[in-house]
Symmetry: C2
Subunit: 241 residues, 2 copies
Protein backbone atom coordinates (compact mmCIF):
# COMPACT_ATOMS: atom_id res chain seq x y z
CA UNK A 1 0.00 0.00 0.00
CA UNK A 2 1.31 3.42 -0.96
CA UNK A 3 1.67 6.18 1.60
CA UNK A 4 -0.98 8.26 -0.21
CA UNK A 5 -3.54 5.41 0.01
CA UNK A 6 -2.84 5.02 3.73
CA UNK A 7 -3.28 8.75 4.19
CA UNK A 8 -6.64 8.57 2.39
CA UNK A 9 -7.85 5.83 4.70
CA UNK A 10 -6.68 7.72 7.79
CA UNK A 11 -8.44 10.88 6.59
CA UNK A 12 -11.70 9.02 5.96
CA UNK A 13 -11.57 7.42 9.40
CA UNK A 14 -10.87 10.80 11.03
CA UNK A 15 -13.72 12.36 9.06
CA UNK A 16 -16.16 9.62 10.14
CA UNK A 17 -15.01 10.01 13.75
CA UNK A 18 -15.55 13.80 13.64
CA UNK A 19 -19.00 13.44 12.06
CA UNK A 20 -20.11 10.88 14.65
CA UNK A 21 -18.77 12.97 17.49
CA UNK A 22 -20.51 16.14 16.15
CA UNK A 23 -23.84 14.30 15.89
CA UNK A 24 -23.51 12.95 19.42
CA UNK A 25 -22.74 16.44 20.74
CA UNK A 26 -25.72 17.89 18.89
CA UNK A 27 -28.03 15.17 20.25
CA UNK A 28 -26.77 15.95 23.74
CA UNK A 29 -27.35 19.65 23.19
CA UNK A 30 -23.65 20.38 23.75
CA UNK A 31 -23.02 22.17 20.48
CA UNK A 32 -22.38 25.93 20.62
CA UNK A 33 -25.79 27.53 20.93
CA UNK A 34 -24.96 30.82 19.23
CA UNK A 35 -23.86 29.15 16.00
CA UNK A 36 -26.99 27.00 15.89
CA UNK A 37 -29.25 29.97 16.59
CA UNK A 38 -27.57 31.92 13.83
CA UNK A 39 -27.65 29.15 11.28
CA UNK A 40 -31.26 28.35 12.08
CA UNK A 41 -32.15 32.03 11.80
CA UNK A 42 -30.41 32.52 8.48
CA UNK A 43 -32.18 29.49 7.04
CA UNK A 44 -35.47 30.44 8.67
CA UNK A 45 -38.21 30.56 6.06
CA UNK A 46 -40.27 32.86 8.35
CA UNK A 47 -37.93 35.70 7.51
CA UNK A 48 -37.42 35.38 3.78
CA UNK A 49 -37.39 38.99 2.66
CA UNK A 50 -38.52 40.63 -0.53
CA UNK A 51 -37.25 43.98 -1.74
CA UNK A 52 -40.06 46.51 -2.23
CA UNK A 53 -38.03 49.58 -3.22
CA UNK A 54 -38.01 53.05 -1.71
CA UNK A 55 -41.14 53.11 0.43
CA UNK A 56 -42.12 55.05 3.58
CA UNK A 57 -42.65 51.82 5.52
CA UNK A 58 -42.51 53.02 9.09
CA UNK A 59 -45.09 51.22 11.24
CA UNK A 60 -47.03 52.67 12.87
CA UNK A 61 -47.00 56.43 12.31
CA UNK A 62 -48.74 59.02 14.52
CA UNK A 63 -51.37 61.33 13.01
CA UNK A 64 -51.08 64.96 14.03
CA UNK A 65 -53.41 67.76 13.03
CA UNK A 66 -51.37 70.86 12.17
CA UNK A 67 -52.92 74.22 13.08
CA UNK A 68 -51.91 77.48 11.34
CA UNK A 69 -53.23 80.90 10.31
CA UNK A 70 -53.35 82.10 6.71
CA UNK A 71 -52.38 85.60 5.51
CA UNK A 72 -55.65 87.14 6.71
CA UNK A 73 -55.76 85.28 10.03
CA UNK A 74 -58.16 82.50 9.04
CA UNK A 75 -57.35 79.39 11.07
CA UNK A 76 -56.63 76.17 9.18
CA UNK A 77 -55.95 72.54 10.09
CA UNK A 78 -54.58 69.62 8.10
CA UNK A 79 -53.57 66.11 9.11
CA UNK A 80 -49.97 64.95 8.83
CA UNK A 81 -48.22 61.67 9.64
CA UNK A 82 -44.71 62.62 8.64
CA UNK A 83 -43.97 64.12 12.02
CA UNK A 84 -41.72 63.18 14.90
CA UNK A 85 -39.88 64.48 17.95
CA UNK A 86 -36.37 65.52 16.86
CA UNK A 87 -34.64 67.13 19.83
CA UNK A 88 -34.84 67.20 23.64
CA UNK A 89 -33.09 70.53 24.27
CA UNK A 90 -34.56 72.70 23.02
CA UNK A 91 -37.52 70.33 22.89
CA UNK A 92 -38.57 70.20 19.24
CA UNK A 93 -40.80 68.39 16.77
CA UNK A 94 -40.30 67.99 13.03
CA UNK A 95 -43.14 68.26 10.51
CA UNK A 96 -42.68 67.59 6.79
CA UNK A 97 -44.99 69.41 4.35
CA UNK A 98 -45.26 69.77 0.59
CA UNK A 99 -45.22 73.36 -0.74
CA UNK A 100 -48.52 72.64 -2.50
CA UNK A 101 -50.38 72.63 0.82
CA UNK A 102 -52.11 75.64 2.35
CA UNK A 103 -50.45 74.81 5.67
CA UNK A 104 -46.96 74.99 4.13
CA UNK A 105 -47.56 78.61 3.08
CA UNK A 106 -49.06 79.50 6.45
CA UNK A 107 -46.20 77.99 8.44
CA UNK A 108 -43.62 79.55 6.14
CA UNK A 109 -45.18 82.98 6.68
CA UNK A 110 -45.92 82.86 10.41
CA UNK A 111 -43.05 80.62 11.53
CA UNK A 112 -45.48 78.90 13.87
CA UNK A 113 -47.81 75.89 14.04
CA UNK A 114 -49.56 73.66 16.52
CA UNK A 115 -49.69 69.86 16.57
CA UNK A 116 -53.04 68.59 17.83
CA UNK A 117 -53.14 64.94 18.92
CA UNK A 118 -56.39 63.14 18.20
CA UNK A 119 -58.28 60.41 19.99
CA UNK A 120 -60.42 57.65 18.45
CA UNK A 121 -63.59 59.77 18.60
CA UNK A 122 -61.98 62.43 16.41
CA UNK A 123 -60.79 60.12 13.62
CA UNK A 124 -63.43 61.31 11.11
CA UNK A 125 -62.29 64.91 11.61
CA UNK A 126 -58.64 63.93 11.25
CA UNK A 127 -59.47 62.29 7.92
CA UNK A 128 -61.74 65.18 6.82
CA UNK A 129 -59.13 67.88 7.36
CA UNK A 130 -56.65 65.75 5.43
CA UNK A 131 -59.06 65.40 2.51
CA UNK A 132 -60.07 69.03 1.93
CA UNK A 133 -57.73 72.01 1.48
CA UNK A 134 -57.83 75.25 3.43
CA UNK A 135 -57.40 76.95 0.06
CA UNK A 136 -60.97 75.96 -0.77
CA UNK A 137 -62.80 76.02 2.54
CA UNK A 138 -62.58 77.46 6.04
CA UNK A 139 -62.68 74.12 7.83
CA UNK A 140 -63.73 75.63 11.15
CA UNK A 141 -66.82 77.10 9.41
CA UNK A 142 -68.17 73.67 8.56
CA UNK A 143 -66.85 71.39 11.30
CA UNK A 144 -67.91 71.47 14.97
CA UNK A 145 -64.36 72.25 16.03
CA UNK A 146 -63.17 75.39 17.81
CA UNK A 147 -59.96 77.26 17.01
CA UNK A 148 -58.24 78.79 20.01
CA UNK A 149 -55.53 81.38 19.48
CA UNK A 150 -52.30 80.30 21.15
CA UNK A 151 -50.91 82.89 23.53
CA UNK A 152 -47.38 81.68 22.83
CA UNK A 153 -47.15 81.30 19.06
CA UNK A 154 -48.95 82.77 16.05
CA UNK A 155 -51.09 79.70 15.40
CA UNK A 156 -54.44 78.27 16.50
CA UNK A 157 -54.95 75.01 18.36
CA UNK A 158 -58.11 72.94 18.40
CA UNK A 159 -60.10 73.07 21.61
CA UNK A 160 -61.62 69.59 21.18
CA UNK A 161 -58.27 67.81 20.73
CA UNK A 162 -56.93 66.30 23.96
CA UNK A 163 -53.22 67.19 23.57
CA UNK A 164 -51.82 70.24 21.79
CA UNK A 165 -48.22 71.28 21.15
CA UNK A 166 -47.54 74.97 20.46
CA UNK A 167 -44.51 75.34 18.21
CA UNK A 168 -42.27 78.11 16.94
CA UNK A 169 -40.39 77.32 13.71
CA UNK A 170 -36.64 77.45 14.30
CA UNK A 171 -35.44 75.69 11.15
CA UNK A 172 -36.81 75.18 7.64
CA UNK A 173 -35.05 72.70 5.37
CA UNK A 174 -36.01 71.96 1.78
CA UNK A 175 -35.33 68.23 1.49
CA UNK A 176 -36.78 67.78 -2.02
CA UNK A 177 -40.48 67.19 -2.51
CA UNK A 178 -41.07 67.90 1.19
CA UNK A 179 -39.81 70.68 3.40
CA UNK A 180 -38.88 69.77 6.97
CA UNK A 181 -39.95 72.30 9.60
CA UNK A 182 -38.39 72.02 13.04
CA UNK A 183 -40.72 73.56 15.59
CA UNK A 184 -39.51 74.35 19.08
CA UNK A 185 -42.20 73.22 21.52
CA UNK A 186 -43.04 76.31 23.59
CA UNK A 187 -45.71 74.53 25.64
CA UNK A 188 -47.92 71.47 25.68
CA UNK A 189 -51.52 71.61 26.87
CA UNK A 190 -53.37 68.49 27.96
CA UNK A 191 -57.03 67.87 28.78
CA UNK A 192 -57.13 67.39 32.54
CA UNK A 193 -59.50 64.44 32.00
CA UNK A 194 -56.73 62.27 30.50
CA UNK A 195 -54.02 62.73 33.11
CA UNK A 196 -52.65 59.92 35.20
CA UNK A 197 -53.00 60.35 38.94
CA UNK A 198 -49.66 62.21 39.00
CA UNK A 199 -51.19 65.05 36.92
CA UNK A 200 -47.99 65.16 34.86
CA UNK A 201 -48.17 62.23 32.49
CA UNK A 202 -50.86 61.34 30.02
CA UNK A 203 -52.78 58.12 30.64
CA UNK A 204 -52.68 56.62 27.17
CA UNK A 205 -55.68 54.42 27.95
CA UNK A 206 -57.72 57.55 28.62
CA UNK A 207 -56.27 59.38 25.62
CA UNK A 208 -56.98 56.55 23.13
CA UNK A 209 -54.63 57.90 20.45
CA UNK A 210 -54.79 56.98 16.76
CA UNK A 211 -52.16 55.92 14.26
CA UNK A 212 -51.82 54.96 10.60
CA UNK A 213 -50.59 51.86 8.82
CA UNK A 214 -49.99 52.31 5.08
CA UNK A 215 -52.89 51.01 3.07
CA UNK A 216 -54.34 49.42 6.20
CA UNK A 217 -56.11 52.51 7.52
CA UNK A 218 -56.29 54.07 10.96
CA UNK A 219 -55.90 52.09 14.18
CA UNK A 220 -56.40 52.59 17.87
CA UNK A 221 -53.92 51.33 20.45
CA UNK A 222 -53.98 47.71 21.51
CA UNK A 223 -52.51 45.51 24.19
CA UNK A 224 -50.07 46.94 26.74
CA UNK A 225 -46.87 44.98 26.12
CA UNK A 226 -45.07 46.17 29.24
CA UNK A 227 -43.00 49.09 30.43
CA UNK A 228 -39.88 50.44 28.75
CA UNK A 229 -36.83 49.65 30.88
CA UNK A 230 -38.64 46.64 32.40
CA UNK A 231 -39.69 44.46 29.48
CA UNK A 232 -36.10 43.50 28.61
CA UNK A 233 -35.72 41.76 31.99
CA UNK A 234 -38.05 38.99 30.82
CA UNK A 235 -35.21 37.74 28.60
CA UNK A 236 -32.97 37.10 31.60
CA UNK A 237 -29.89 37.93 29.52
CA UNK A 238 -27.28 39.98 31.38
CA UNK A 239 -24.06 40.73 29.53
CA UNK A 240 -20.66 40.45 31.25
CA UNK A 241 -18.79 43.76 31.27
Amino acid sequence: MKLSELLNIVLVVVLIFVLIRYNVKEANGEVNEASVVNSVAVMDSLHVKKSVGKRPFLFPMPVGVIGSYDSVGTPNIMSASWIGIVNSNPMSIGVSLRPATHTYNNVMRNKAFTVNIANEKLIEYVDWVGHYSGKDVNKFDVLPLTPVKSELVNAPYVHEFPVVLECKVVRTTNLGKHTHFVGQIMDVKVDTAIFKADKKFVDINKLRPVMTGHGSGYFGIGENLGRGGKVYQRLGITPDF
Copy 2:
Protein backbone atom coordinates in the same frame (compact mmCIF):
# COMPACT_ATOMS: atom_id res chain seq x y z
CA MET B 1 -88.24 114.35 31.54
CA LYS B 2 -84.72 114.97 30.38
CA LEU B 3 -83.53 113.68 27.02
CA SER B 4 -81.03 111.38 28.76
CA GLU B 5 -83.78 109.71 30.81
CA LEU B 6 -85.84 109.15 27.67
CA LEU B 7 -82.80 107.63 25.95
CA ASN B 8 -82.33 105.23 28.91
CA ILE B 9 -85.92 104.04 28.67
CA VAL B 10 -85.63 103.56 24.90
CA LEU B 11 -82.41 101.55 25.34
CA VAL B 12 -83.95 99.29 28.00
CA VAL B 13 -86.99 98.65 25.78
CA VAL B 14 -84.75 97.82 22.81
CA LEU B 15 -82.63 95.51 25.01
CA ILE B 16 -85.73 93.64 26.28
CA PHE B 17 -87.02 93.33 22.71
CA VAL B 18 -83.69 91.90 21.49
CA LEU B 19 -83.48 89.43 24.39
CA ILE B 20 -87.06 88.18 23.81
CA ARG B 21 -86.49 87.86 20.08
CA TYR B 22 -83.21 85.95 20.66
CA ASN B 23 -84.89 83.53 23.06
CA VAL B 24 -87.73 82.89 20.59
CA LYS B 25 -85.26 82.20 17.78
CA GLU B 26 -83.26 79.85 20.00
CA ALA B 27 -86.41 77.98 21.02
CA ASN B 28 -87.30 77.59 17.34
CA GLY B 29 -83.79 76.34 16.56
CA GLU B 30 -83.19 79.27 14.23
CA VAL B 31 -80.12 80.61 15.95
CA ASN B 32 -76.85 80.33 14.09
CA GLU B 33 -75.56 76.80 14.73
CA ALA B 34 -71.89 77.57 14.44
CA SER B 35 -71.96 80.12 17.26
CA VAL B 36 -73.83 77.70 19.52
CA VAL B 37 -71.42 74.89 18.76
CA ASN B 38 -68.51 77.20 19.47
CA SER B 39 -69.90 78.51 22.73
CA VAL B 40 -70.80 75.03 23.90
CA ALA B 41 -67.35 73.78 22.98
CA VAL B 42 -65.51 76.63 24.66
CA MET B 43 -67.45 76.05 27.86
CA ASP B 44 -67.05 72.28 27.59
CA SER B 45 -65.55 70.96 30.80
CA LEU B 46 -64.33 67.84 28.97
CA HIS B 47 -61.62 69.89 27.34
CA VAL B 48 -60.29 72.01 30.17
CA LYS B 49 -56.59 72.05 29.47
CA LYS B 50 -53.58 72.23 31.74
CA SER B 51 -50.18 73.45 30.66
CA VAL B 52 -47.45 70.84 31.18
CA GLY B 53 -44.48 72.69 29.70
CA LYS B 54 -42.04 71.59 27.01
CA ARG B 55 -42.66 67.86 26.71
CA PRO B 56 -42.25 65.35 23.84
CA PHE B 57 -45.95 64.45 23.96
CA LEU B 58 -46.49 62.88 20.59
CA PHE B 59 -48.81 59.85 20.85
CA PRO B 60 -48.10 57.24 19.80
CA MET B 61 -44.52 57.02 18.58
CA PRO B 62 -43.02 54.18 16.53
CA VAL B 63 -40.06 52.20 17.86
CA GLY B 64 -37.32 51.53 15.36
CA VAL B 65 -34.17 49.54 15.96
CA ILE B 66 -31.20 51.33 14.37
CA GLY B 67 -28.48 49.13 12.87
CA SER B 68 -24.90 50.37 12.36
CA TYR B 69 -21.26 49.20 12.25
CA ASP B 70 -18.59 50.50 14.59
CA SER B 71 -15.03 51.43 13.59
CA VAL B 72 -13.89 47.79 13.45
CA GLY B 73 -17.02 46.50 11.71
CA THR B 74 -18.83 45.14 14.77
CA PRO B 75 -22.58 45.37 14.18
CA ASN B 76 -24.66 47.26 16.74
CA ILE B 77 -28.36 47.93 17.30
CA MET B 78 -30.21 50.39 19.53
CA SER B 79 -33.87 51.32 19.81
CA ALA B 80 -35.10 54.81 18.92
CA SER B 81 -38.53 56.42 18.94
CA TRP B 82 -37.56 59.87 17.73
CA ILE B 83 -37.79 58.83 14.12
CA GLY B 84 -40.12 59.72 11.28
CA ILE B 85 -40.49 59.86 7.51
CA VAL B 86 -39.39 63.33 6.33
CA ASN B 87 -39.44 63.36 2.53
CA SER B 88 -41.05 61.50 -0.38
CA ASN B 89 -38.53 62.37 -3.11
CA PRO B 90 -35.90 61.33 -2.42
CA MET B 91 -37.70 59.04 0.04
CA SER B 92 -36.09 59.72 3.41
CA ILE B 93 -36.40 59.04 7.12
CA GLY B 94 -35.14 61.18 9.99
CA VAL B 95 -33.50 59.72 13.10
CA SER B 96 -32.48 61.85 16.11
CA LEU B 97 -29.58 60.62 18.24
CA ARG B 98 -27.53 61.96 21.15
CA PRO B 99 -23.75 62.13 20.62
CA ALA B 100 -23.32 60.03 23.78
CA THR B 101 -24.65 56.93 22.01
CA HIS B 102 -22.50 54.33 20.27
CA THR B 103 -24.88 54.47 17.30
CA TYR B 104 -24.31 58.22 16.86
CA ASN B 105 -20.60 57.69 16.37
CA ASN B 106 -21.16 54.75 14.04
CA VAL B 107 -23.66 56.64 11.86
CA MET B 108 -21.48 59.75 11.81
CA ARG B 109 -18.53 57.67 10.60
CA ASN B 110 -20.22 55.40 8.06
CA LYS B 111 -22.98 57.76 6.88
CA ALA B 112 -25.34 54.80 6.89
CA PHE B 113 -27.87 53.03 9.11
CA THR B 114 -30.81 50.68 8.93
CA VAL B 115 -34.20 51.03 10.61
CA ASN B 116 -35.60 47.67 11.70
CA ILE B 117 -39.32 47.56 12.46
CA ALA B 118 -40.32 45.21 15.26
CA ASN B 119 -43.39 43.11 15.91
CA GLU B 120 -44.95 42.23 19.26
CA LYS B 121 -42.85 39.06 19.64
CA LEU B 122 -39.66 41.10 19.47
CA ILE B 123 -40.57 43.68 22.12
CA GLU B 124 -38.15 42.29 24.76
CA TYR B 125 -35.28 42.62 22.28
CA VAL B 126 -36.31 46.16 21.36
CA ASP B 127 -36.20 47.09 25.04
CA TRP B 128 -32.95 45.18 25.67
CA VAL B 129 -31.01 46.91 22.89
CA GLY B 130 -32.28 50.24 24.21
CA HIS B 131 -31.06 49.41 27.72
CA TYR B 132 -27.48 48.30 27.03
CA SER B 133 -24.85 50.19 25.05
CA GLY B 134 -22.83 48.83 22.16
CA LYS B 135 -19.83 50.47 23.85
CA ASP B 136 -20.03 47.77 26.54
CA VAL B 137 -21.29 44.69 24.74
CA ASN B 138 -21.58 43.18 21.27
CA LYS B 139 -25.34 42.73 21.40
CA PHE B 140 -25.39 40.16 18.61
CA ASP B 141 -23.03 37.98 20.69
CA VAL B 142 -25.58 37.58 23.48
CA LEU B 143 -28.97 37.85 21.74
CA PRO B 144 -30.40 35.28 19.32
CA LEU B 145 -30.51 37.89 16.56
CA THR B 146 -28.63 37.76 13.27
CA PRO B 147 -26.90 40.72 11.65
CA VAL B 148 -27.03 40.76 7.85
CA LYS B 149 -24.73 43.07 5.92
CA SER B 150 -26.72 45.35 3.66
CA GLU B 151 -25.60 45.20 0.03
CA LEU B 152 -26.68 48.81 -0.47
CA VAL B 153 -25.35 50.73 2.54
CA ASN B 154 -22.55 50.23 5.06
CA ALA B 155 -24.81 49.02 7.86
CA PRO B 156 -26.28 45.74 9.13
CA TYR B 157 -29.96 44.91 9.32
CA VAL B 158 -31.53 42.34 11.62
CA HIS B 159 -32.65 39.13 9.94
CA GLU B 160 -35.42 38.43 12.47
CA PHE B 161 -37.11 41.84 12.10
CA PRO B 162 -40.02 41.82 9.63
CA VAL B 163 -39.39 45.17 7.89
CA VAL B 164 -36.00 46.80 7.32
CA LEU B 165 -35.12 50.15 5.75
CA GLU B 166 -31.58 50.58 4.38
CA CYS B 167 -30.54 54.22 4.63
CA LYS B 168 -27.71 56.42 3.40
CA VAL B 169 -27.14 59.59 5.44
CA VAL B 170 -27.60 62.66 3.24
CA ARG B 171 -27.88 65.34 5.93
CA THR B 172 -26.64 65.72 9.51
CA THR B 173 -28.00 68.60 11.58
CA ASN B 174 -26.96 69.41 15.14
CA LEU B 175 -30.22 70.62 16.69
CA GLY B 176 -28.93 70.93 20.27
CA LYS B 177 -28.89 67.90 22.56
CA HIS B 178 -29.86 65.67 19.63
CA THR B 179 -28.48 65.48 16.12
CA HIS B 180 -30.98 64.84 13.32
CA PHE B 181 -29.79 62.44 10.64
CA VAL B 182 -31.72 62.37 7.37
CA GLY B 183 -31.30 58.97 5.76
CA GLN B 184 -32.24 58.42 2.14
CA ILE B 185 -34.10 55.11 1.95
CA MET B 186 -32.20 53.06 -0.64
CA ASP B 187 -34.45 50.01 -0.29
CA VAL B 188 -37.00 48.42 2.01
CA LYS B 189 -37.08 44.67 2.62
CA VAL B 190 -40.17 42.96 3.96
CA ASP B 191 -40.75 39.42 5.23
CA THR B 192 -42.86 37.76 2.54
CA ALA B 193 -45.03 36.26 5.29
CA ILE B 194 -46.54 39.66 6.17
CA PHE B 195 -47.54 40.88 2.72
CA LYS B 196 -51.09 41.54 1.72
CA ALA B 197 -52.36 39.52 -1.22
CA ASP B 198 -51.04 42.22 -3.60
CA LYS B 199 -47.44 41.41 -2.52
CA LYS B 200 -46.70 45.15 -2.39
CA PHE B 201 -48.24 46.41 0.84
CA VAL B 202 -47.69 45.21 4.35
CA ASP B 203 -50.66 43.65 6.13
CA ILE B 204 -50.44 45.46 9.44
CA ASN B 205 -52.49 42.71 11.13
CA LYS B 206 -49.82 40.21 10.14
CA LEU B 207 -46.98 42.58 11.04
CA ARG B 208 -48.33 43.40 14.54
CA PRO B 209 -46.14 46.50 15.01
CA VAL B 210 -45.31 48.08 18.36
CA MET B 211 -45.38 51.66 19.60
CA THR B 212 -44.62 53.68 22.73
CA GLY B 213 -46.69 55.99 24.92
CA HIS B 214 -44.64 58.06 27.37
CA GLY B 215 -44.69 56.51 30.79
CA SER B 216 -47.37 54.07 29.70
CA GLY B 217 -45.08 51.51 28.10
CA TYR B 218 -45.18 49.66 24.82
CA PHE B 219 -48.40 48.84 23.01
CA GLY B 220 -49.57 46.73 20.12
CA ILE B 221 -52.07 47.98 17.55
CA GLY B 222 -55.76 47.93 18.33
CA GLU B 223 -59.03 48.34 16.54
CA ASN B 224 -59.12 49.21 12.83
CA LEU B 225 -60.88 52.59 12.75
CA GLY B 226 -61.37 52.68 8.98
CA ARG B 227 -59.49 53.63 5.84
CA GLY B 228 -57.83 56.97 5.19
CA GLY B 229 -59.73 58.87 2.51
CA LYS B 230 -62.95 56.99 3.45
CA VAL B 231 -63.48 57.60 7.15
CA TYR B 232 -64.28 61.31 6.65
CA GLN B 233 -67.36 60.40 4.60
CA ARG B 234 -69.09 59.20 7.76
CA LEU B 235 -69.46 62.85 8.79
CA GLY B 236 -71.59 63.61 5.73
CA ILE B 237 -70.19 67.16 5.61
CA THR B 238 -69.43 68.39 2.09
CA PRO B 239 -68.21 71.98 1.79
CA ASP B 240 -69.55 74.29 -0.97
CA PHE B 241 -66.78 75.53 -3.22
